[in-house]
Subunit: 364 residues, 2 copies
């Protein structure tokens, strides 16, 4: 690891913080320090856990600064035993205006300077039997508003039901420690968000996803173009024609409650993912499986460049391109008009794993 | 080649055509048939020329229909002698409303049904010394308005000055047969359009690009978010801080004039490109050149998915995804924080070929 740049000593912004609101809903005076400090130690723990799992590869760090305010530390592993490429990013940025894509959802933040910190990760394993995984947890403050967001989702290339069930059950346990509504709502939101409209496919088997979690207690507060939220059945999480979703509300959440929930989600990552890696990393595979993996990685690229809000936010805020696009796979194939052979494992991926499913009550 | 679906016999739309306007500016009664018929014969000629150049690969055709109206014929060559993958698409679509991205530029078309036809092509050669090439010519009618658009641009992986000069001179000759203003304006527009803001790079060495060519005679009629038109010096075509470009006007152009110009541009493709292929196709290359080619192909993907209006139009109009994304390369690499070695051919590509240059008056 190279040394990373010291914390800036100048105040991050000069505006007074949160002069209005209920006491319980106010962030503590050291909110930014506490979240960014957790985000960094989370990045450390994840990197250590992944190095142990890989057994060979190590993360190399690039520390960078953003001219408009802030910076980060990007860590990349290449050509490991298990991970062909993996990136784990921490960043902390501040500036004058949030980009339009966020202001549309949080108009109260307009005209205020903002602060944002987060950790994000994408891992591209070499073995096609190990799924790709993505994670992102983040925190925003801007004028009178603050919120937490994030999530984690799994993208298998070959269909192992038990792996997906394990992944979802681990996430559900983390959610259930905080509120019984969380898992169902955020699982649904994940299915909705990681959806490739032009392919009519989910990106993978989902996980959980949430954004704009604040003291209002509204779990699914937004509506955006292309939202599929009313196209899924919340009980079975299978597509249902115009089924109206009742999204819960958790009133009286404090800043501490939501921060604690985010931390639980983050801490669930290693137990949710590494047992799958251990189980699959020594399975032998051939050219057919490798080719299919490279082909399916193309969907990852399509999603990240066409739909992903994190990517759009990064590019709109003059973020560090190399860190933003670190999520793209090291090697990718496109093939005109590929169709999986009926009855094959590849076809089962399309038929079952690229559609929303109820993995908690799964019976193969 | 498989048979392609017959022309639909139902009227393409029921609205009366062009009841107002100067006589010379009106399309002829058979405008759609004439353009689409030319587009198809152009596709045929291009495919024949490319098969002859390749010597091994042949184009396979998929004919498809669009449920909302229209269809097309997609032709793909794979694993040829020269071309690792090449796609040449013809399409002809019609429907109720143009997508918002186009209506923003042509508000007069709102509320009217539209007709659009075009031919587009991307070729990904195997040999890294042969540039990738892209072409797209198209024609629109919607209510009281009609226009032609299109262009062609070259994306080299290794810097051969004479190839780029040949390409640009051939295009300039085609333009000059119609108007002395065309080449300079459309060369500049091409540099502006095929620009990756997040990389601060042009996609390649450009060529010509135009859109919204109609009887108004305005050559560069639009202004859109991210437009770079005033950031380039029109004489040297090198970036110049806030240099204001004077864009010419060609009044009294008839429909026939602009159609004829589009045809000349199309016909310039084979003479502009195939001599470059012939000159480079037998050059030997190694792993280094292949790796660099695969890496640079990533920029093609980034451009097409993040910026390209043709791709956005296609996805917004429920186009055929496989045909739209046929432009994506067959194999692509991403590498975190790649930097070319100073003094290498790869560095020369970045320093000279990924910035706008005056290729007509080029002195190496």
């Amino acid at each position: 690891m190279t040394a990373f740049s010291p914390r800036p000593t100048e105040p991050k912004f000069s505006e007074p913080k949160f002069s209005t609101g209920r006491t319980g809903s106010l962030p503590p005076a050291d909110s930014r320090e506490r979240v960014s400090s957790w985000m960094k130690s989370f990045q450390d723990r994840v990197c250590q856990g992944l190095e142990a799992t890989d057994g060979l590869g190590t993360f190399k760090q690039d520390a960078w600064e953003r001219p408009e305010g802030g910076g980060g530390r990007s860590r990349v592993m290449r050509d490991g035993n298990v991970f062909e490429q993996g990136g784990v990013n921490f960043s902390e940025v501040w500036g004058k205006d949030l980009p339009p894509s966020i202001l549309a959802q949080r108009p109260e933040a307009a005209g205020h300077s903002f602060y944002a910190t987060g950790t994000s990760m994408v891992l591209h394993p070499k073995n096609p039997y190990i799924p790709t995984v993505h994670l992102n947890y983040r925190y925003f403050e801007a004028g009178p508003v603050w919120w937490f967001g994030g999530g984690i989702d799994l993208t298998p290339y070959y269909p192992f039901d038990e792996d997906v069930v394990h992944f979802h059950k681990t996430l559900k346990q983390a959610c259930d420690r905080h509120d019984p509504e969380y898992y169902n709502t955020f699982k649904l939101w994940c299915d909705e968000y990681f959806y490739l409209k032009h392919r009519n496919e989910t990106r993978g088997v989902g996980g959980i996803f949430f954004d704009y979690q604040d003291p209002s207690g509204v779990l699914y507060p937004i509506s955006y173009p292309g939202s599929q939220m009313d196209a899924f059945d919340p009980k079975t999480a299978t597509p249902a024609a115009k089924h109206s979703v009742k999204v819960g509300k958790v009133p009286d959440r404090s800043w501490e409650d939501i921060f604690s929930f985010s931390q639980s989600c983050g801490s669930a990552f290693l137990p949710a993912y590494t047992p799958i890696v251990e189980k699959r990393k020594n399975l032998e595979y051939g050219e057919r499986e490798r080719n299919f993996q490279l082909y399916r990685r193309g969907r990852y690229v399509e999603f990240n460049l066409v739909y992903d809000r994190g990517t759009i936010f990064g590019l709109q805020t003059n973020g560090r391109t190399e860190s933003i696009l670190m999520s793209l796979p090291p090697l990718v194939r496109w093939e005109y008009d590929y169709q999986p052979e009926p009855g094959s494992p590849e076809a089962r991926l399309y038929d079952i794993f690229l559609k929303p499913q109820d993995w908690i009550n799964w019976k193969a």
